[in-house]
Structures are given as structure tokens and as C-alpha cells.
């Protein structure tokens, strides 16, 4: 370290020093003081630190390399200050070189939080808002923004329900409100509503502010019900900086399922093993590579600041023949014209390419029974291919009846190409010192091409090749006019904000399909659809518009008492005229009692907060209130020429309206031990009424569902955050952040019935007609519904009762002697926590993230399928060896168990080391300001009793199946990964 500084001194400081000394020869006995300022956090130089001679206006700031030079006399005191660090004062004395290690300021009261159409100082907040900044996640190698959010904020649950590359990630803020519609939060990127996280480059993010309670999110009205993630991207500042980062990751599935060997299976099926059989897990899963490269250039030249970045991700899936690519480019430009006018232009473009991704990763094949579920239950006694490369047998009489899932996966070519271009312009003009007018105009353009080819279509029949091509084009615009007035009267500060906003979107889609191509061997047959028969075409368009009026008043008295009130009026084209307008008010207050505390007391600050707000959900899509006659019901009376036919009118409720969520929140923030321990606790209760619920219709009334505003769901819970800095010295610092959330979900009302039974979100294992889930008044969403398994009937039982067959499953019965179907578990976790640790010692930094998810069960339908239930054929799991026999009467039935049986409900609780990173930063390299090497591991271990691959995955999707969570029917497990990378700053 000393040597480094010496070198730096020689190279940079000495010439400057000489120059300055020369220039100030004849001045007042002052000498030039020089030095380098580094951060205690990671030891890197800190540019832009203000260095002032105390009590004078004589000041300077550090250059890009953290160096400064200032004239001062030996009696002077130098003050070093920089946002985010503690201010340091040093007497000059006789020194000519003063190097400073800036200590990170734990309190950071001046941190600014983006609250929607404006900002607020963190210390002034009245609502429940968590902030995650780039500093929090930059020590973790990641390619997805969702990973940066995971385990970092109380009340924000981020579940990776699939390990598929490019798969969807489930984000819930304070539980699930909606039963039939999406519970994913609203994403606002640089003021533009409705962004997507998956296409975003995490490196572009400066801060993420999560608006958790309704007093904070009501400003987003009809789109705020699920909470809001407000993302602010980086801006350039200071000297030009160039950064390059590269990392590579290898991933594997965390474990294999223990199955019967081909020989054991052959014994059951009464067949013989051919050529040693096949280990389908080995054939299907593979070691996957990921490469990520990142380039950044940023800085400020005069009145123009810029931040430019490019990123390329190339990720393979742990399932063979599946991968994900993403390119992204960003340019954020900000220009200042005089004192009053600021113009910002953010441009973002991305291309994502998903290869063989199904249902956002919830399924591993186009047929829900295929993929992972398919390979585990397929006949292991036969080889996949003949020596000549052709498939040995596409179907087998044993195991599942599907077409060989390996062949299906090998012969498929499904691509989704998504191009996004996002431009937004921000013009801010200070009309007067107190009045500002900002226009925010943004447009998002997304073009999606889906190309799919199935050489051997998935399913239960060997079919001819099929292909399809579709194109979807989304354009949105947003125009926000924001007028704000901010004035201080004595101790009182008042801020008023008014917004008029228009948002519109239009999607145009077209698609074509055909099959049975006249020419064989066309792997890209989606470009040659005209060669196939059964050609189908479709086209459609949907449109939506929202018009909004927003007002907010913020009032603060003496920085002790804060009051905020908001009102948003939204008018959505999704509803008919009488139900179109929604009013979303909120009010919140905070009282800071820090001033009442003794100066040197235990507590440094205490703040009380409380708020109430109403938010909505309007996301039913276009034409949700207009019944239609479905097309595509053509019929060929002559067996060859289809005539156009239409279907029965769909059921629609004309009086559909908003789903409304009302939330109260009370919170307490305090810090003690010189701000090194900060604690925040929030309690909330939110009630969602007029639920947009897809009410199932009995088959005798036509079947399907009808969308209605019925019912109510309640979520209550606590969010705790404990942020500590146990050790902060010049060489060694340690930050530990622990957050824990509880959520109790309850269905209050279903609009009449006490329960509604539902399937597993469109997944239907084994062709079973039974309902796997129940929505029940008084219970949480995600209630498992099924039979209670009591073991097997024994020989003695069969002897006593002639109707009983020994070895068959025994269930709890109702009064009439029928199998009792009741609640047998719940798939919604009610306790989650995260522990983030960053330890820095000199040039070494260590980060680890531990997370826990508790108090929930998983429907292990995969295990069920492997244990010979009704419809699944012979047993396949190695546990099946211990099944009931007359000689060994175990509680494992010989077969015929129901799939929806408590036997297949397992505790999902897990604790996982989601990240462990170790980095070393080199600082004494020529022309390079810093060079960091790091190694990292993700999901290195998971502590769980779950028998399946991964207790976190689910086959029911992330957005709108909160009534059917934690359903493991072959979702792709989250891999265990090892990363090595380097980051260079010039």
C-alpha cells in the first residue's frame, strides 16, 4: 500500500507539486498540501471529494485518481467531504502530504429516494420504501436485475421458480393480492411505467426504490396494487471513466433424483434391458456455460454528462439444446442549458434470444408432461438411438406414454427473438425558484418473433413435423406533465406536485403455422411454412389507453413532522364508461423524535411513520367486457374442405371494474451505537376488494370461467430490516444486512361460495380430473386440496374386510365412507429472510448472501409420478423398492395412489447460500485505476428436506397463478454455479 502511494506520488503528485510550489513562491507563507483519497469500502480512489480549508472559501476537489492539491498554512484545518462518506477534518501541521481514507457514512441521511414524479430525502420519507443501490449488489456477479433485488429488501420476495435461462422470476411485494391476475409489481424505469426487468442490464442501474405500502404506491393508482419498483439508471459524472468487466460461469443441476436402475425397472416391467439402458438424467442435463461481457463509458464534459454501456450475455441452459442471449446498449445523456433548463435523453435497446424456452421456463417442454417430468418417468431399459443414429424407439409400452422426450428436445428448434427500443426524453424547466415544470415523454417499442419447429412434436403420438411463426409488435407511449412547487416558510416546507399523464399501448400480432412438410429435414421449417399442409393464419390487434390526473402535497415542519397526501384519478379504456374512473387517495405522516433524544444517548435517531392508501388493478386486457363469438371452429363436412365455423359466445361481465387494494402501514426507524446499527420495522394490513376473479363455471352451464369482481383477499405482515456495521476501520470493514418478512395471507370472501376448487394453473398431470388447489374463505391462497394418506392396507385389514385389498393406499374417509378431500398443505411461504454480508480487508472483499424461505409446502407431483400412482404406470423412484409386499408390509403402496394425496406434499422450507464472492483488487497497475479479480459461487448449498430437485421451483408460472404455487411437475431446477471474473477500470 505504502509503495503504491509512493509510486503514485512520484508519478502524478510530484510534478503537480513542483508546479504549484513554483507558482506560489511569492504568496503568503502557505505551502501546497497534496494527497490521495481512497474509500474504506474497497480501497479504490474516490474522485470528486471536496477539500476545503476550514472557514475559508479556498477549496478544490480530487481528480479521477483521487489526488488533490491545495494551498494551506500549517495552522489550517482541511475538511474532506463527499456524499456517502463521513466528513473528515485534519490539521495541516507540518505535513505536506495528507492521505485520507474516507469512511463510508452508514447513516446517509441525505440519500435521495425516487418516490414517483419526484424525489424525497430518505430522512423525510413517510411511507414504507426500501432502496437498493448498485453498491449493494456490485459485488455479486449477476446478469439479471431480479437477482440484485433478491434478499435485499424486507417485504420483497424474489423467487426463482425455474432454472431455465431467460426464465421468468416471481417477485411479490408484501404477499399476493390478486387471485386471477398478475401479482408482479409495476416496474417504472426512469419515470416510464410498465418496464420489464429481464431485458435490463443490472449494471445500468443506479438505484431501485421499492414502494411497498399503498401510501407510497398510490401515486401510481390503478397500477400500484402489487407495489412498485422504481428504477433509476446511472448518469455520468466527473472525469471520463471506462470500465470493462468479464465473467464466465459454469452451472450444473444441484442433484439427481434417485431412480430405479434399468435392471430393476426391467424386473418390474417384465422386459429386458437393451444395450445397458439409458440414464435419462445424464442425457438430458448438462454442464452449462455462461459468458458475460460488459463495457461502460461515462463522464461529464462541460454541461453534458453521459453514461454509455453495452452488455452481452450468452447463457446455456442446464437442459441440452436450450440457451439465452442478450445484447443491450444504453446511452443516458443529460444537458444543462443555463441555470433553468435541463434536458435528459435516455436510449435503451436490447435484443433477447430464447432458445427452447417454454412458458417462461415454468415448463421444460411444450407438453407439460414432457421435459423433466418426461425423462424421469420414461422407460430406462432401452437405448435412445440405434448405432446408425436413428432413434431406437420413440415410444414405449412402459414408463410414460410420451414420445421420447430426449428425441423431442433434440429435434426442436424454438426461438423467441425480442427486440426492445426504449427512448425517453425528460425536459425540466425552472419557471421560478419555487416552480418547476417537467415533461416526460417516453416510448417503448417491442418486437417479438416466435419461431417454432418440432421435428418430433411432443405429446403422446408420433406426429409429423410442425412449425409456426408469429410476430408481435408492441408500441407504447407515455406523456407526463409534471408541475411542482416547493417553498419554505420559516420552519415549514411545502411541496405541491400536479401531473397530467396519458399512456397508450397497441399490440399487433400475426401468426402462421403448418405441418407435414413435403420435404424432409427442414429444421428451420418456420421459414418454409408454405411447404406444409394444414396451414393456419391469425392476426389480431389490441389497444389500451389510460388517462390520469395526479396530485401530491408534501408538508414538513422543522424536519420533525412530515405529512404527505396524494390523489390519483385514472381512467382506463379496459372498462365501460360507468366503471372507467378510479380514485386512489393516500395520506401518510412521520414524526422524527431524534431532537428529543439526549445528544450522547444510546439512540441516534427515532422516527415513527404511519400511512393509508388505496391502489388498484386494471390489468384485465382489452375487450374484457365485450362478449365475442370465438373463431377457429371450422369443420369439413366432406372430410377435406373446411367450412368456416364459430363457437358459442364467451361469457363476459359488462360491469367489470377495478380491483382495489387498501393498505395501512405503521413503521418505526431507529439507529443506535453511533448509527452503526439501523433498525426498521413496518407493520401492514392490506385488503384487496372487488377481486377480479375468474369464477369457474360448471360444465352444465358451458364450462370455462367468467371474470367477475367478487371477493376479498387480505395480507398482513411485518417487515424487519437490521443494517449493521460491526467493524469499520481503515483496513477492515464489515457490513451485515439482515431482513426478515412475515406475511399472513387470507381469503376473506369469494363472493358467495366458501370454497372454489381449482386445477394447477393449466398443468394437468396424468389426465386427472381432480382439483389440486382450493381457494377457501379463511385460508391462505395456495391451499393444497386432496386426500389424506394414512399408509397402506395391511394383510390383516384385508382379512377382516373383504372389500380391502392389502398393499393399496389407505385414506382418511368421510362419514359416508368416501375418500375425504380436504386441505393438505399450503404452497405460499409466510416467512422469508435474507442475510447480506460484505467484508472488506485491505484489497480483499468477501460477500455472501444467505436466504431462507419458510413455512410452506411443495406439491411434489414429480415424486408422485415416480411412485406409481393411478395413471402413471410402474414405479420408477428408488423408494419404490421398499413398496408393500405380503412379506414386508411397508407404508409405500404398490400403486394406485391418487396424485392429490398428502403423501406427495412435502415441506419446502429451505436455507440457501445464494451467493458467495471473493474478490481481490489490484491498484498499482500502470494506466489502470483498478483491476479486480473475483471468484463466486451461486446456490452452493441448500438446506432442505425436499425430495425433489429444488424446493423453490414451480410449474405453474410466475404471474397469475398465486392460487396454485409450489407445484413441482418438472420445472427446471436452479443450478449450482461457479463464476470467475475480472473488472478493469480505466
Amino acid at each position: 500500500m505504502k509503495r503504491t502511494i509512493l509510486k503514485l506520488f512520484k508519478r502524478h503528485v510530484v510534478p503537480v507539486f513542483l508546479l504549484v510550489v513554483f507558482m506560489s513562491m511569492n504568496s503568503y507563507g502557505q505551502s501546497t498540501i497534496t494527497g490521495t483519497i481512497t474509500s474504506s469500502d474497497d480501497g479504490t480512489p474516490v474522485p470528486g471529494v471536496n477539500v476545503v480549508v476550514k472557514g475559508t472559501s479556498n477549496g478544490t476537489s480530487t481528480d479521477f485518481d483521487g489526488n488533490y492539491a491545495i494551498n494551506a498554512s500549517s495552522n489550517d484545518v482541511l475538511v474532506f467531504s463527499y456524499l456517502g462518506f463521513k466528513t473528515i477534518e485534519r490539521s495541516v501541521g507540518g505535513q505536506s502530504v495528507i492521505d485520507i481514507v474516507m469512511q463510508v457514512d452508514n447513516e446517509q441521511l441525505d440519500e435521495v429516494v425516487v418516490i414517483g414524479y419526484g424525489t424525497q430525502k430518505k430522512s423525510d420519507l413517510t411511507g414504507a420504501i426500501s432502496s437498493v443501490s448498485s453498491k449493494d449488489f456490485e459485488k455479486q456477479p449477476l446478469i439479471r436485475v431480479e437477482d440484485a433485488l433478491q434478499s435485499r429488501a424486507a417485504g420483497v420476495s424474489v423467487s426463482k421458480t425455474t432454472g431455465a435461462p431467460g426464465g421468468q422470476v416471481k417477485i411479490r411485494i408484501r404477499g399476493s393480492n390478486s387471485i386471477s391476475f398478475s401479482n408482479q409489481p409495476l416496474i417504472v424505469i426512469d419515470g416510464i411505467l410498465g418496464g420489464t426487468l429481464e431485458s435490463l442490464n443490472p449494471n445500468d442501474i443506479a438505484t431501485m426504490d421499492i414502494l411497498k405500502d399503498a401510501s407510497a404506491s398510490a401515486i401510481y393508482g390503478s397500477r400500484g396494487a402489487n407495489g412498485v419498483v422504481v428504477i433509476t439508471t446511472k448518469k455520468g459524472s466527473g472525469k471520463p471513466k471506462i470500465g470493462v468487466e468479464y465473467f464466465t460461469t459454469i452451472s450444473n443441476i444441484p442433484k439427481k433424483i434417485s431412480l430405479l436402475s434399468p435392471e430393476q425397472y426391467a424386473e418390474l416391467s417384465g422386459t429386458e434391458v437393451v444395450n445397458g439402458g439409458t440414464d435419462y438424467q445424464d442425457e438430458y442435463f448438462k454442464t452449462a456455460l455462461l459468458n458475460n461481457i460488459q463495457l461502460t463509458a461515462s463522464g461529464k464534459e462541460g454541461n453534458l454528462s453521459y453514461f454509455i454501456s453495452g452488455n452481452y450475455v450468452d447463457q446455456e441452459g442446464v437442459v441440452f439444446n436450450s440457451d439465452y442471449n442478450r445484447f443491450s446498449l444504453r446511452a443516458n445523456l443529460n444537458a444543462k442549458f443555463g441555470e433553468k433548463l435541463n434536458v435528459g435523453l435516455n436510449l435503451f435497446g436490447s435484443r433477447e434470444l430464447n432458445h427452447n424456452l417454454f412458458n417462461g421456463g415454468a415448463r421444460s417442454s411444450s407438453d407439460a408432461r414432457g421435459g423433466v417430468a418426461g425423462i424421469l418417468t420414461w422407460d430406462p431399459t432401452i437405448p435412445i438411438r440405434n448405432p446408425d443414429g436413428t432413434y431406437y424407439q420413440l415410444q414405449s409400452s412402459f414408463g410414460n406414454i410420451l414420445v421420447n422426450p430426449i428425441a423431442v428436445q433434440s429435434e426442436r428448434n424454438n426461438n423467441r427473438i425480442q427486440d426492445r427500443f426504449n427512448a425517453n426524453l425528460n425536459i425540466s424547466y425552472d419557471i421560478s425558484k419555487t416552480l418547476n415544470f417537467t415533461i416526460l415523454g417516453g416510448s417503448l417499442f417491442r418486437h417479438t418473433n416466435d419461431e417454432n419447429f418440432a421435428g418430433i412434436p411432443a405429446g403422446t403420438t408420433v406426429l409429423e413435423a410442425q412449425a409456426g411463426f408469429s410476430s408481435s409488435r408492441l408500441t407504447t407511449y407515455q406523456l407526463s406533465n409534471i408541475l411542482s412547487w416547493n417553498k419554505t416558510f420559516g420552519k415549514t416546507n411545502v411541496k405541491l406536485t400536479g401531473v397530467y399523464e396519458l399512456q397508450g399501448n397497441q399490440t399487433k400480432t400475426s401468426s402462421g403455422s403448418s405441418g407435414e412438410f413435403g420435404i424432409g429435414g427442414l429444421r428451420d421449417a418456420f421459414y418454409l411454412l408454405e411447404l406444409g399442409v394444414d396451414q393456419g393464419v391469425r392476426a389480431n390487434q389490441t389497444e389500451g389507453t389510460i388517462q390520469s390526473y395526479v396530485g401530491r402535497a408534501e408538508f414538513n415542519y422543522g424536519e420533525d413532522f412530515y405529512l404527505t397526501g396524494t390523489m390519483r384519478v385514472d381512467q382506463s379504456s379496459n372498462f365501460r364508461k360507468d366503471n372507467r374512473t378510479g380514485y386512489f387517495p393516500s395520506v401518510s405522516a412521520a414524526y422524527n423524535i431524534s431532537k428529543l433524544l439526549p445528544e450522547e444517548g444510546f439512540f441516534n435517531s427515532i422516527k415513527l411513520r404511519a400511512g393509508y392508501g388505496e391502489v388498484g388493478n386494471q390489468n384485465v386486457g382489452a375487450l374484457a367486457t365485450y362478449p365475442d363469438l370465438p373463431t377457429g371452429r371450422d369443420f369439413a363436412f366432406d372430410g377435406s374442405t373446411p367450412e368456416i365455423g364459430i363457437g358459442n359466445p364467451t361469457l363476459k361481465d359488462e360491469n367489470l371494474k377495478w380491483e382495489t387494494t387498501k393498505q395501512i402501514n405503521a413503521g418505526l426507524d431507529f439507529s443506535f451505537l453511533n448509527n452503526s446499527v439501523q433498525f426498521t420495522v413496518d407493520w401492514y394490513k392490506k385488503n384487496t376488494t372487488d377481486l377480479l376473479l375468474r369464477q369457474p363455471v360448471p360444465d352444465y352451464n358451458g364450462g370455462g370461467t367468467v371474470l367477475k369482481n367478487i371477493g376479498e383477499v387480505q395480507n398482513t405482515g411485518f417487515d424487519f430490516t437490521l443494517n449493521t456495521y460491526p467493524i469499520t476501520t481503515e483496513d477492515f470493514s464489515w457490513n451485515a444486512n439482515f431482513n426478515l418478512s412475515t406475511v399472513a395471507n387470507e381469503i376473506v370472501d369469494l363472493g358467495g361460495p366458501e370454497q372454489i376448487l381449482t386445477g394447477a394453473g393449466g398443468v394437468n398431470p396424468g389426465g386427472s380430473t381432480s382439483s389440486f388447489y382450493s381457494l377457501r374463505v379463511g385460508e391462505s391462497l395456495g391451499q393444497f386440496h386432496g386426500a389424506t394418506f394414512l399408509g397402506t392396507w395391511k394383510t390383516a385389514d384385508a382379512a377382516a374386510n373383504g372389500d380391502i385389498v392389502a398393499g393399496t393406499p389407505r385414506y382418511l374417509l368421510d362419514e359416508e365412507g368416501e375418500i375425504l378431500l380436504s386441505d393438505i398443505g399450503n404452497g405460499t411461504p409466510s416467512l422469508t429472510w435474507g442475510l447480506n454480508n460484505t467484508i472488506t480487508y485491505k484489497n480483499i472483499d468477501l460477500n455472501f448472501v444467505l436466504r431462507g424461505v419458510h413455512d410452506y409446502q411443495v406439491y411434489n407431483v414429480i415424486y408422485a409420478q415416480l411412485m406409481a400412482p393411478t395413471g402413471a404406470g410402474l414405479g420408477r423412484h428408488s423408494d419404490y423398492i421398499n413398496r408393500w409386499t405380503p412379506e414386508n408390509e411397508t407404508d409405500i403402496p404398490t400403486g394406485g395412489d391418487l396424485l392429490n394425496s398428502s403423501r406427495f406434499v412435502e415441506d419446502g422450507d429451505f436455507i440457501r447460500l445464494s451467493n458467495l464472492s471473493l474478490g481481490y483488487t489490484f491498484k498499482d497497475i500502470k494506466f489502470i485505476s483498478s483491476f479486480k479479480l473475483y471468484v463466486s459461487g451461486q446456490n452452493l448449498f441448500t438446506i432442505s428436506d425436499y425430495r425433489g430437485f429444488d424446493p423453490e421451483v414451480s410449474s405453474t408460472g410466475v404471474s397469475n397463478n398465486d392460487g396454485a404455487p409450489s407445484f413441482d411437475f418438472g420445472a427446471i431446477p436452479n443450478p449450482r454455479s461457479y463464476t470467475i471474473g475480472a473488472r478493469i477500470q480505466f
Binding site: 375487450l623 372430410g639 358459442n648 376448487l757 400403486g895
Partner: protein
């Protein structure tokens, strides 16, 4: 300036700017235009759109009637069985009449008829609001007649499978409904078929083969079938036999164009599926251009030796009895048209006659499932999605109904014996219309003789089970099971002629979950 003044000035400015920015963009258009991208139900106001809706109704029938589980009840018959393992438990439980409300594969037989009923209800209820020109009157009558016919067809499928079912005649209603008695359901079917009988033409014009769309004759044929059930279990109103006989006779005498096909086997080929007049009501499939074929036929009726699906097989005792009867009575032609007894050109090329030595378990192969012509390899033998017809009712069925109903109602008309004998002559490979003393029957219990003739004639068409139920003879049929039939390898269960699901399939649990009143 005083504070108050500053406030006023700024507020004034604030308000004027706000007013300006709101007025610049005039109010957004928030009214949707549903007509642009979708068809409104209000377009159901012409004969033309009603016709398009009825075309969609056929597709609705086809979407489900193409699958084997639509005929789940039929597995109870002694003619049909399935594989012991694999995913065939749902069929197995139907075969052995041990279904519960949780059994697999019972859903389609319940939901599909109600989809047909929903669309038929829409057509029937739209009819009064349509102004019909004189030239459209005939096609209008035909369309509405088809809707009535299809509604009756759907209710008959429901009640034959589940017994007591729900009657709903309204459009898009969300009312909770109770089960109706079997008799009430019969009355509804009767009333709809009588409407269809009035409205439908004698011969449906311009169709590919007779029976592809229903005529007056088809309505009468289904009335005859209804009365046969009404006369038997569970209502046992034997006065209905005479009505069945009368209706069947009207079909025979009415000039509707029906006749027995020269060869039974050819009806189950792609080449000759339209070259006969035996279909009274037939579902026509279109596999090549529409990819919506018949998935109850083809390879799914083959064993694994032929790379089959093991789904639908013949029962052993039935095969043996039929073979014996055919040899005794000279009807070997029909026996050979009922079972595949030649080489199946797939995988190991097993010989159908050699079924006792099949790899997994021994079962005869039904030709009405596997296909009439083993040379139709790509369209039938290799496929589970074939263009083969599904005959919901054949003219042979009508002839035998007439003979049986006549016998059971105490009649002895020579025309009834002639109807029976026409079927027997074809079964012997002879011209149906030329009397032959070696084959013709002239004495005995006409009702019973015709009942037995139906057993052989309609084997493998999912009809036998319904005959057993209406005559309440399921216990006898179970008693006749071959000891060679594979036992339940998994659960060691046995067939039951006495359990709660012996006669009728329990309503699927998923429906009871939505309507608990159906569960009691």
C-alpha cells in the same frame, strides 16, 4: 411581498400552467371498438351466421368425439377392454365398472355434451329473432333442426353415461341447477328429436355421404334408440317398445335413402368411407388438411408388438363366443370384419390372429379400431389420428332395433324378421336383400335373437354396454369373463357388477367441486 401574495401569484401561475397542459392534449378516447377485432354475438341475426354457428357446433362435437374417453362408458361392454398398465387406468376402471368421481378420463364424456348443448341452445334461442326470407326458410329449418338434433344427441350421450344429469336449455346462464331424473331427461330428448323430425329434410342435400348430417330419418332413428332405453333399465316402461318399433319402421319405410353397405369392413377404410348408405348419423373426419382426425382408431388399438398404444382391445371371451357363433351360423365374414386376423405391418409385424402370444398381454385386435384395410398404412395403421368415420348410428342398428322392439312388444311381423335377416345375410357375406334359407331365421324369440345379433353386429362400437344396461344384464356379462383376462397387476382389483358405478359413471369430481348439489 407578503407571504400571502407570493402564494396567490404562484398558485395562479401553477393553475394556469396546469390548465394549459391539460388542454393541450384533448381528452383521450377511452371507448373500445369491439367490432374491429372480434365478432359480436349481435351478428347472430341472419340465417347465414346461424349456419356458421351450426358448422361450429359440428366442430365442437368433433373436438371431443374424436377421443376415446368420450366413449368411456362403452368400455363396460363385454366386447371392449384395455391394457392393464400404462396410463389406461381410467379405461380399466370403466371396463370393470369400478369408477369413482375421482377416476381419470370421465371428464370428457361429461363436459363435451354440455359444450354441444351450449351451442345448440344458442342457435335454438336465437331462432325467434331472425327474420327469414321465403327462399331461406328451408335452410333455416334445417339449421334449427340440426341444433335440436344435436342437443338430443348430447343429452342421450350424457344420460347413457351418467344416468341422472342436469338439463340446461338457456344461453350463457350462470344459474345453479339440480340433477333431473332419467325420465325427465328422456322427455327432453324426445321433445328435441320430435322438433328435429319436423324440421329436418328427408334427405340432407349436398353432403358427401348419407348420414354426414342428420335427416328426418336420423331423428326417427334416435327416437327409436331412445324408446329402447325408455322401455328398459332404469325406467322399464315396456310400452315404449312398440313406439321404438314404430319409429324404426318409419326409418326403414320412409325413403330416407339408407341401405346396408355391401361390406362391413369397407366402412372402416379411408377409401370407401363415403361409398355406402349405411350411416344414419356419422362423424366425418378430416385429418390431412385440417389435422383433426379420428383419435379412437388406428395404431392406438394395437399392442406394443405393433408399436401400438394399447388403448382399446377386444375381450377374450367375446372373441371366442363370436368365433363359435360365427362358425355355427355361417357368419364368419362378419367375424373376420370384426377382428384383425392378418399381419399388422408395423414394428414386429405381428399377426392379429396370433394375439394369444403378444408380448405384454393377450387381447384380440378390433378391426373397427385398428382399421378395415391394413394396406392403408400411413393414414390408418401408423396413425392415431385417422380419417376413419365414427358411426354414431348405422342402418344395421335401426334394422335390429326394429326387430328387437317388435319382438319385445309381442309382435311377429314378417318385416321384422326380414330386418333381422338382412343384417345376418350381410354378416354371412351375402347380398342383404336376397333371402337365403341357410342364414335366415324365421322362428324363435325375435327380441332375444335380435339382441344377440346386435351383440355381434355392433361389437367394438361402444354400443354393447348400453344394450347390457338397458336389458340389465351386466352381471351375466361379467360372469362370462375369460379366465385368461389379465388381473389388475397393480391393485389386484376385480370387475364389479354390483358396485355404485356398476350401471352409471359417477359425475366427475371437478364438476361436483363447482356444484356440490350434484354430489348427493
Amino acid at each position: 411581498m407578503k407571504i400571502a401574495e407570493i402564494k396567490t401569484t404562484n398558485l395562479g401561475r401553477l393553475l394556469s400552467v396546469f390548465f394549459l397542459m391539460v388542454s393541450v392534449y384533448s381528452c383521450a378516447d377511452l371507448d373500445e371498438d369491439p367490432g374491429k377485432t372480434q365478432l359480436s354475438p349481435s351478428t347472430l341475426n341472419s340465417v347465414e351466421t346461424l349456419g356458421v354457428l351450426v358448422t361450429g357446433m359440428y366442430r365442437t362435437v368433433q373436438n371431443d368425439a374424436r377421443w376415446t374417453d368420450f366413449y368411456i362408458a362403452g368400455f363396460g361392454g363385454d366386447d371392449i377392454t384395455t391394457f392393464s398398465a400404462g396410463n389406461k387406468q381410467g379405461f380399466r376402471e370403466a371396463d370393470w365398472r369400478i369408477q369413482t368421481s375421482l377416476s381419470e378420463r370421465t371428464n370428457r364424456a361429461w363436459s363435451a355434451p354440455y359444450s354441444m348443448i351450449a351451442i345448440a341452445n344458442t342457435a335454438i334461442n336465437a331462432a325467434p329473432d331472425i327474420t327469414v326470407s321465403e327462399e331461406d326458410q328451408e335452410s333455416f329449418n334445417t339449421i334449427i333442426g340440426e341444433a335440436y338434433f344435436m342437443r338430443a344427441f348430447a343429452y342421450m350421450h350424457l344420460t347413457r353415461t351418467f344416468g341422472e344429469v342436469v338439463i340446461n336449455l338457456e344461453v350463457n346462464s350462470l344459474e345453479d341447477r339440480e340433477l333431473s331424473s332419467v325420465e325427465q331427461v328422456y322427455q327432453q330428448i324426445e321433445s328435441d328429436l320430435q322438433q328435429a323430425e319436423t324440421l329436418l329434410p328427408d334427405v340432407y342435400p349436398g353432403i358427401v355421404a348419407i348420414g354426414a348430417r342428420p335427416s328426418k330419418g336420423a331423428a326417427k332413428g334416435f327416437l327409436a334408440r331412445l324408446y329402447m332405453h325408455w322401455a328398459g333399465f332404469p325406467i322399464n316402461d315396456s310400452s315404449k317398445y312398440a313406439m321404438a318399433a314404430a319409429k324404426a319402421k318409419e326409418v326403414i319405410d320412409g325413403g330416407y335413402g339408407y341401405g346396408l353397405a355391401p361390406s362391413m369392413r369397407e366402412m372402416w377404410t379411408v377409401a370407401n368411407r363415403f361409398n355406402h348408405n349405411e350411416g344414419v348419423f356419422t362423424m366425418v373426419f378430416c385429418d390431412e388438411l385440417c389435422d383433426i382426425g379420428n383419435r379412437t382408431t388406428g395404431r392406438l388399438g394395437f399392442p406394443v408388438d405393433a408399436g401400438g398404444w394399447n388403448e382399446t382391445f377386444g375381450e377374450i371371451a367375446f372373441f371366442e363366443d363370436m368365433e363359435a357363433a360365427a362358425m355355427a351360423e355361417g357368419t364368419m365374414a362378419r367375424f373376420e370384419d370384426t377382428y384383425i386376423l392378418e399381419v399388422i405391418p408395423r414394428r414386429d409385424n405381428p399377426n392379429g390372429a396370433d394375439w394369444r402370444n403378444f408380448q405384454n398381454e393377450p387381447h384380440p385386435i378390433l378391426r373397427k379400431v385398428g382399421g378395415g384395410d391394413m394396406e392403408e398404412v400411413s393414414l390408418v395403421v401408423n396413425s392415431t389420428n385417422t380419417p376413419l368415420n365414427r358411426y354414431f348410428m348405422r342402418y344395421a342398428d335401426v334394422l335390429l332395433t326394429y326387430a328387437e322392439a317388435t319382438g319385445r312388444s309381442g309382435g311377429d311381423a314378417p318385416e321384422a324378421w326380414e330386418a333381422l335377416n338382412q343384417v345376418r345375410r350381410r354378416a354371412a357375406g351375402l347380398d342383404p336383400n336376397t333371402p337365403d334359407a341357410a342364414i335366415d331365421l324365421t322362428s324363435g324369440d325375435l327380441g332375444e335373437l335380435a339382441f344377440t345379433e346386435r351383440k355381434w353386429e355392433l361389437a367394438g362400437e361402444y354400443e354393447r354396454w348400453h344394450d347390457l344396461v338397458r336389458m340389465d344384464r351386466i352381471a351375466e356379462a361379467f360372469a362370462n369373463r375369460s379366465p385368461e383376462e389379465r388381473a389388475d397387476v397393480v391393485n389386484n382389483r376385480t370387475p364389479s357388477a354390483t358396485g355404485p358405478a356398476a350401471y352409471f359413471t359417477p359425475i366427475p369430481q371437478s364438476e361436483i367441486d363447482l356444484s356440490p348439489q350434484l354430489g348427493n
